[in-house]
């Protein structure tokens, strides 16, 4: 195992030892509760409601975890001074940063897979279909987690965990609303509002481009082109955040 892989694996081990897997249990309980409720109150829309609820809860829990993990990882290393022993090793600062990011994405990926398996078991037990749009929505969710994690990482290289978490949460909401903000500007007659809304739209990642959950709910197929475009979009934003994080991190003094 190389230095990069060792650091990435350590990030996963840290999350596991800090009991993030409890989220999977929370997901299982919520899903069980929802299914019991849904079977009582729905007549013919069971598949739709369970898909919507399952993907929604998965998204909520994992987004919360992504923000928590990414906003604290580097700032905590700096505050607790564990960074001294890592940055002084034969591993460049950028590689250290990327390894920590990889560890986070591994943690989120493993949890996403575990939750997906539970979700599928639920669907199979109730004879509901596993569909292509559900798979697309899950991939979209992972891409969204990547963008948010990269943003949290960038912030945590120079801000405290609280500030990073607040800003990343703001980015999550603004990212889902930025198309609406853009439309607001288009409809406005005030030039300043038009300018600000456009600037906001282009300055923030449009997370709705990665959100295929409504399509999964209504079983509307997602094309390969759409998925490819969403993947490139997320990778672009993630790469931008990572490059900025590396630039900030390379210049920092660790006193």
């Amino acid at each position: 195992m190389g230095a990069f892989a060792a650091m990435a694996w350590n990030g996963f081990r840290e999350a596991r030892r800090n009991r993030v897997t409890v989220l999977v249990a929370a997901f299982a309980l919520l899903l069980l509760f929802a299914t019991t409720l849904v079977t009582e109150v729905t007549v013919s829309t069971f598949d739709r409601v369970v898909t919507d609820f399952g993907l929604g809860v998965m998204s909520l829990l994992l987004v919360f975890l992504a923000i928590y993990l990414s906003s604290g990882l580097i700032s905590r290393e700096i505050e607790r001074r564990t960074i001294f022993l890592m940055v002084s090793k034969p591993l460049s600062r950028s590689r250290f940063l990327l390894a920590r990011l990889a560890g986070n994405m591994l943690t989120l990926g493993v949890l996403l897979v575990a939750m997906t398996l539970l979700f599928w078991v639920e669907l199979v037990l109730h004879r509901a279909p596993i569909t292509q749009p559900q798979m697309a929505a899950l991939w979209g969710l992972y891409l969204e987690l990547f963008v948010l994690t990269s943003a949290g990482f960038l912030l945590s290289t120079f801000a405290s965990q609280l500030v990073s978490a607040l800003v990343t949460t703001g980015l999550y909401f603004a990212g889902h609303l930025c198309a609406d903000i853009y439309n607001l500007g288009v409809k406005s007659k005030v030039e300043l509002v038009q300018w600000v809304s456009k600037a906001t739209y282009y300055a923030l990642p449009n997370l709705e481009r990665l959100n295929f959950r409504p399509r999964a709910t209504y079983a509307l197929e997602v094309t390969a082109a759409e998925l490819g475009s969403a993947t490139l979009y997320a990778l672009g934003w993630g790469a931008l955040f990572c490059v900025l994080a590396a630039l900030v991190f390379e210049r920092r003094d660790f006193r």
Partner: protein, 326 residues
């Protein structure tokens, strides 16, 4: 390659005109000069001590060498290359002051992780981990999580991770802090064992007895500046020798009226303890006997590194804490 750089190639540590200024304050409008034009060279196999009071610039020097802090001016080289290059740091083991380790790992896992970052793997790594944990006395507790460790156990584990790669240069920042007397003895033994293997060791401390017993050369820093540098023997013997005398039968006031320049004079019950330059000792002895006094002891006063350290601080204007603030 310039002449200066080529001469520094074989040197484990070479520092030229190194300065570091920190910006502090809410608006970063104040400057603290932590280091001011430091020059230093450490030859292979030397045990080199950085000595100085709090805020003298010792840790800043070490952090620049370990790539944790960027120099404002000047150059710090490890084996003739910038410390920013990861392959250079492959030859260095580092123990920071009050080390902080990943608490969710066991000691063994942490040292293994350090070994993997150094590019080690497999059976060799396992064997090496076992050996260094044994050397630092952590063989039995190595499978406990670090969050359960005492400060001394953390210090020992941190030393084990510094030794894991068999470094050519060992950089130790306050290595004996947090250790009990047995731990300090073991730490000194490990440093001596590493020196015997030919490892170059740079360590900073304010425990002067450690420096005296371990170091070949010493630099004394005060307020970010170098005030003394040399071998321990040179520094101690460079000071003009003094003589201590214990006098009976004459009061302190009468002895002071004899006109000798005493380095130290103190009344102790019926005796007076005097310290004078060696050159004046013969005259003083005669004067005491002439005045009817009795001398019960005459012995050379041992000038220690501690005296040197205190002298250096006096020369630097009594500045004890922190760099120069502007």
């Amino acid at each position: 390659m310039s002449a200066a750089t080529s001469s520094a190639v074989s040197l484990p540590v070479s520092i030229r005109g190194l300065s570091k200024t920190y910006r502090v304050g809410f608006f970063l409008n104040k400057q603290v000069k932590a280091l001011q034009g430091l020059d230093l060279e450490i030859a292979p196999g030397q045990v080199y001590g950085l000595l100085g009071p709090n805020g003298a610039g010792k840790s800043t020097t070490i952090k620049i060498l370990m790539g944790l802090v960027r120099a404002s001016e000047g150059q710090a080289l490890l084996f003739g290359e910038s410390p920013d290059r990861p392959h250079v740091r492959r030859q260095v083991g580092f123990l920071p002051e009050n080390p902080s380790l990943y608490e969710y790992l066991t000691g063994r896992e942490f040292v293994t992780l350090a070994g993997r970052i150094f590019g080690m793997s497999g059976h060799d790594l396992d064997q090496r981990v076992e050996r260094v944990l044994g050397e630092v006395g952590m063989g039995r507790a190595s499978d406990l999580q670090i969050r359960r460790y005492s400060k001394g156990m953390v210090q020992r584990t941190a030393l084990a991770q510094a030794l894991i790669s068999g470094p050519r240069l060992l950089v130790l920042d306050e290595p004996t802090s947090g250790l009990d007397p047995l731990g300090r003895r073991q730490m000194r033994d490990i440093i001596l064992a590493e020196r015997a293997k030919g490892t170059t060791i740079l360590f900073c401390t304010h425990i002067i007895s450690d420096v005296e017993s371990l170091c070949d050369r010493v630099v004394v820093l005060v307020g970010g500046k170098r005030v003394q540098e040399g071998s321990v023997q040179e520094l101690v013997s460079a000071k003009a020798p003094s003589v201590e005398m214990v006098v009976h039968g004459l009061p302190l006031e009468q002895l002071q009226s004899l006109g000798f320049a005493y380095e130290h004079a103190q009344q102790l019950d019926s005796r007076v303890l005097l310290r004078v330059p060696d050159a004046a000792s013969h005259g003083l002895l005669q004067a005491v006997i002439t005045k009817g006094g009795r001398v019960s002891r005459v012995q050379p006063a041992r000038f220690s590194l501690e005296d040197l350290f205190l002298d250096a601080m006096k020369q630097a204007g009594g500045q004890t804490v922190g760099g120069e603030i502007q």
